[in-house]
C-alpha cells in the first residue's frame, strides 16, 4: 500500500494534466504577443500622460519627472565612467607595485648571487 496520501495522489494526477497546458499557454507566441502589446500600450499611455504633465510643470518653470529621469540617466552614465576610471587606476597601481616588487626582488637576487650572501626564501 502506498504511503502517499490519497489527496496528494489526486493533486499529482491533476497537476500532470494541467501543468503542460498552462506551460504551453504561457510559452505560446500568442501569449507573448498579447503581453508585449499590453506592455507597449501601458508605456505609450504612461508616456503620453508624462508628456502632458511635463508641459504643465514646464509652464511654471519646474522640472518634470521626465527631466529627473533624464538627469538620473546622465548621472548614472557619469557614475559608470568614474567607476571604470577608478578600476583602471587600481589596475595601474597594482602593475606599478608589481613592477616595483619585481625590481626589488631582482636587486635582491643579484645581491644574493654574490658568494656568502644569505639566500631568499621561495
Amino acid at each position: 500500500m502506498s504511503d502517499t496520501h490519497p489527496l496528494r495522489r489526486a493533486y499529482d494526477a491533476a497537476e500532470r494534466e494541467v501543468a503542460p497546458r498552462v506551460e504551453a499557454l504561457l510559452h505560446s507566441d500568442e501569449f507573448t504577443t498579447t503581453t508585449t502589446w499590453i506592455a507597449k500600450a501601458r508605456k505609450r499611455i504612461g508616456g503620453g500622460i508624462a508628456a502632458g504633465g511635463a508641459q504643465i510643470w514646464h509652464l511654471v518653470n519646474l522640472p518634470a519627472g521626465t527631466d529627473i529621469k533624464r538627469l538620473r540617466s546622465q548621472l548614472g552614465s557619469l557614475d559608470r565612467e568614474v567607476r571604470k576610471l577608478g578600476l583602471q587606476l587600481e589596475h595601474l597601481q597594482h602593475e606599478q607595485s608589481e613592477g616595483g616588487d619585481n625590481h626589488a626582488s631582482t636587486a635582491e637576487s643579484e645581491r644574493s648571487a654574490r658568494p656568502g650572501a644569505p639566500r631568499d626564501r621561495p
Partner: protein
Amino acid sequence: MPALPNPSGALDRVRREIDRNVRRARNGIKLAADTTPPALGQSPKDVVWRSGRSELWHYRGTKNSGGPPLLLVFSLVSRSYICDLTPGNSFVERLLDAGFDVYLLDWGVPDERDANNRLEDYADDYIPAAIRRVQQLSGARRVDLLGYCFGGVLTLLHAAHHPHSPLHSLTVMATPVDFQQMGPLVEVAGSDAVDLDTILDDNGNVPAGIIRQLFRSLTPTYEITQYVNLWERLWSDEYVAAYRAITAWSADHIPFPGAAARQTLEMLLKENAMVTDRLMVGGDRVSLSNITVPFLTVRANRDHIVPRPASAPLIDLVGSADKNELCLDAGHMGLIVGKTAHKTTIPTIIDFLQKRSEVSA
C-alpha cells in the same frame, strides 16, 4: 494461517501521526505568525573591496590548506546568499571546512547607476579587480575561479578575453552556452514581439519583478506544488526551515542592468555567439577556445532553467587540455543547496580543486 497485524506497529503509526499533527499545527502557526525574514547568508565575512554596488567578501575560515584562494562569482539576476543559505546548508561553509580560502564577488542591487553596465564591465573590470584584490590579500600568484549560472558566463567571458589572467583553474556550474537551447526562458525573451525598451524600468534596468515572472513562467504550477509539498511535510522542522529559506531567496531577484540585458539578448541569445564563435567583448573578437586553464563544468540533468542541451556544448568549446565535465542528477539550485549538493556536487568540486592544488604544489 494468515499473519496477524502487529498491534504495536499500528500503535506506533498512530503515535507518529499524533506527533506529526501536533508539529504541523505548531509549524503552521509559526509560519503564519512569524513575519521576520529567515536569517540567510550568515557565515562570518569581511568586505575587502568595493566598487559601486559590487563588493568582494572574504569569508573567515579557521582551516587553510594552503592551496590557491577560491573566488566565487554569482549570477547578475539573483542574490548570491544562495551560496551560503543557512548553517548546515551552505556551499561556502563546506568549502571553508575543506580548507579553502573563500572569496565571493557580490553584485549588490543595481540601480540607475548600473543601467549602462555592459558585460565587459564585469568580465574586464570587476572580475580582474577582484582577482587582484584576492592576490593582494592572500599572497597567492594564482586564483581558482568559480562561476555559477550567469556568473559562469561572466567568468567564461573574462577567461576567454584574458587568457593570461592569473587563474589556477576555472569551474562553472549550471552555465548556459547554447542560449537557443534554453527552452521557454529565451523563447519568450528572444521573441521578435518582445521589445526590451518596453520592459526596462525608469532606472534603465530590467525590473526584478519581470525577472521573477520570467522564472515563474517556466514552471507555472511550481508554486502551488510547493504549498502542497509544504502541507505534506509541515511536521518536519528541517523541511519548514529549508522551505522558508528557499522561498525567501526565490522571491528576492535583483534588477538586470539594461545594457547587459541588451547584449545578452542580441549577442548571446539571437546571435548565439558563444557557440557560433561571434563573441565580442570590449571590442575584441574572443573565443572560448582561448581558455586553457584546468577546467570543470558541472551540469544538472534536471535543470529546468539551463536545460542539458544549453550547457552540453561547453566542454567541447573550451581549449583547455585538462578539462572535465560532471553531470549530476539535480535541479538548477540543487547543485549547491540540498541533499544532492552536500552528498555529491560539493565533494566532487572540492575534490577537483584540491587535486589541482596538489598537482601544482
